[in-house]
């Protein structure tokens, strides 16, 4: 239930998210390599990313022109430029740590920081529980069929296959 709520609240990344193109790029009128040009973007041009379809993202350029560019050619503000904001994880953990005993275990909010991983003791009961959720090969196959997923023959890239 809580997850569902958070899913609804999670920001939809591609709704007018500020981005830059990593190289000079031709915008396309349609999300396809052979589509007609819709304008030219210089390297590092700033755009607003609007929606993604397959390997293409529809963007709005500074001058107002719209078109489709390769999604792999877009970078969002986070990694390069300083971006404000936090997902709130730190605050959650701080709240947990400020419990009466001053330890984070009292409120049950824990997590996966390096410290917690280093000091973790094995939890055999949770492991058994996890193993109880296992899906069988057949079960997974009918699950896939229900989603209209059909298995494809796709080769690994040659250099990775060794």
């Amino acid at each position: 239930m809580r997850l569902a709520l958070l899913l609804l609240l999670a920001p939809a990344l591609c709704l007018a998210e500020p981005a830059t193109v990593i190289r000079a790029t031709e915008m396309k009128q349609q999300p396809a390599t052979d589509a007609a040009a819709a304008g030219q973007l210089a390297e590092n041009a700033k755009v607003d990313a609007l929606e993604r379809r397959g390997g293409w993202t529809r963007v709005k350029a500074g001058g107002g022109a719209e078109g489709w560019v390769r999604m792999l050619a877009l970078r969002y503000a986070g990694a390069g430029e300083a971006k404000q904001g936090d997902s709130g994880v730190a605050q959650l953990l701080n709240v947990a740590r400020s419990g009466t005993s001053g330890t984070q275990v009292t409120t049950g909010v824990r997590g996966l920081d390096a410290d917690q991983l280093a000091n973790a003791r094995p939890n055999a009961a949770e492991l058994r529980k996890m193993e109880g959720y296992a899906a069988s090969r057949d079960g997974a196959e009918s699950f896939a069929a229900k989603g209209n997923l059909s298995a494809q023959r796709v080769d690994y890239p040659r250099e990775a296959a060794q």
Partner: protein, 272 residues
Amino acid sequence: MTRVLALCLLLAALPAQAQFNLNRLLDSAKNIGKATQEIGEKEEIEIGRDMAARLLGAAPLMANDGVQRYVNHVGRWLASQTERPDLPWRFGVLEAPQLNAFATPGGHIFITRGLLERMRNESELAGVLAHEIAHVLKKHHLQAIQKGARMELAGAALSTLARQDRNTPSREKLLAAGTELFSRGLDKSDELEADRLGVVIAARGGYDAYGLPSVLQTLQAMNPEDSGVALMFKTHPAPGERLGALERMQPTLDAYAGQPQLADRFTGAARR
């Protein structure tokens, strides 16, 4: 080869008056040899289960049967498309707000609630699980543990000689080395390989192959100082670099871009 080299190192370190220690020395060399041998599948699975139990000690499973079963179905279907379909594949969602995913040898795979909440459809989940499955297929963690164990054992053998007591390699040490990988991370080349193979495995499963790249884009848009991604960013190449490296997979990505994303099933399963 490594064994011979280790033995040479030991002999070079052997003081002339300490030749009575030769038996002990040979024992140590044997132990180093043992650690360099290929670890069998049974032991691989056991080490992985031990590592998984540790991880679950840091964060328990998210208390939602429906979500756990759903993730197991997606993951098991993907694993069936690989060269190791019969490993005991197990998947779990960890009750942790951070964004991360983990694999342990032999087929235990984890994703955090924090990462799941940032996903928009099943093809994104499939992309991340396929990346983790690739680590298991390629035994990336196992190799890193063995590499670490070899170096430590070579050192331990020498100090054993000096202190004249026995210090054999233990399962505990392998496990400690494995657990350390959760916070130290794998080699960058292992991560980029898992990205490439993950794209292929998701496509084999019939999913929109862009699931993994679009999760990477979500991560790339986040503030790297954000406490929710600090550990993941520390243990992986930057998402922007991973996206760049995936450009060589563009033909595969595009050939399978039209396959289902299953956004409705994803949100439905999460709502249960």
